[in-house]
Each structure stands twice: as structure tokens, then as C-alpha cells.
Subunit: 116 residues, 2 copies
């Protein structure tokens, strides 16, 4: 059941932090090295690496090391899973609203009497 | 800056738990009393109320008490804000992919020589 999905737990928890959202935002514009990710953030490199670890464990970000440089990129499929969970609930809510609208627009035959 | 939004912090943190997602899922199908929300969850009423408090503090859910019954409903605008943040990052990622595709399809004039 998608409501009890450890991966959704990790993804939403990963997104529940402004610094990590900044990193995801940066990576949505293309791959970046850890140094590039760290530049706009006012924090130590170990702190950046810790945030990166949380993002990687959630599946939202992947990284690979080439020589001494680690390059990170976004995993859009994971981002899509988180977005889809919310979108499905909003769609359900809106569809209920539509049904409620249809119901309220139905002529009240009982109160208007029988025309036969 | 939306990446550093305390309300997004709270919303994503609220969604990072399966029981709370179950409650949001239930409320997407219409308002529910606390008792109705608690029914499918294997936990004590105080635990349910604690999860409800987290959802209310995030703005995703509102509740009102009438007599002894507290009824909860979803706040779709808040759900939309969380969804939109993710959707914007995915859109940015996809638009970069499109630009990259256009670039790769551009004829390489330099390597094909000057035809004048």
C-alpha cells in the first residue's frame, strides 16, 4: 500500500529541509559536483555531505566519483513518485468536489412534486 | 525563497510518515471524524491525535469541534503547494533535457566543413 511506503517516507523526509531542497533545485538545472552544490549553502563540507547522504538514501539523488571529484545528479523518477502520491490525493479530493457539485445541481424531484 | 520555506518543511515532514499519509488519503475522500480517521490505524487515540496535530501544524489538515465530535478536512491548497514545488523541479529538469536534445540534434557545421 503506497501510504505505507518506506521510500516515500525517505523522500518526503529528504524534502523537509530547505538546504536539501536547494540542492535538489540546483540539480534540476543539471548535474553538479559536491563543491558546486556546497557553494550557495552556508555550511561546512561535512554538513553538505550529510545532506547529500540523506538525498541519496531517499533515491532522489545519485552521485558517482571520478578521480577526486564526486558528481551528483537528480533522479526524476523518484521525484515523480513523490509528486504522484500528492497529485493522486488532490485528484481524489477534486473528484469528490465534482460529485458533490453534480449532486447539488440535481433537481430536487421530491420537493418539486410529482408531475404525473 | 521557496527552497527555504518553513511551511514546506512542515508539509513534507508531515507527509514523511505512513500513518499520516493514510489520514491524508482518507480525508481526500471527504471529511472524517477523529474516530473515523483512527479506525484503520493500529494505534492509540493519543497517538492518532498527535499525528493529527502534526498534520494541522503543517496546514495540510484543518479540524473543528462540534459538541464532542471533532471533524477533520483536507486543505487542498496546502497539498497543492507541496506538489507544485516538486512539479517545478521536475519541469526544470525536463526542460534542460529538451534543450540538451535540441543541442545534440543541431548539425555540426564545423566538422562538416564550409560549403561556400
Amino acid at each position: 500500500m503506497l501510504n505505507h511506503s518506506p521510500s516515500l517516507d525517505l523522500m518526503f523526509a529528504a524534502l523537509a529541509d530547505g538546504s536539501r531542497r536547494s540542492m535538489v533545485d540546483r540539480l534540476s538545472r543539471g548535474p553538479a559536483t559536491v563543491k558546486q552544490l556546497a557553494e550557495p549553502l552556508v555550511m561546512s563540507l561535512p554538513a553538505v555531505l550529510q545532506h547529500l547522504r540523506v538525498l541519496e538514501e531517499s533515491g532522489l539523488v545519485r552521485s558517482a566519483k571520478s578521480g577526486r571529484v564526486r558528481t551528483c545528479h537528480l533522479e526524476p523518477a523518484a521525484l515523480n513518485a513523490a509528486e504522484q502520491w500528492i497529485a493522486d490525493r488532490r485528484a481524489e479530493w477534486l473528484s469528490r468536489l465534482d460529485r458533490l457539485g453534480d449532486y447539488l445541481e440535481t433537481p430536487e424531484l421530491d420537493s418539486e412534486g410529482d408531475q404525473s
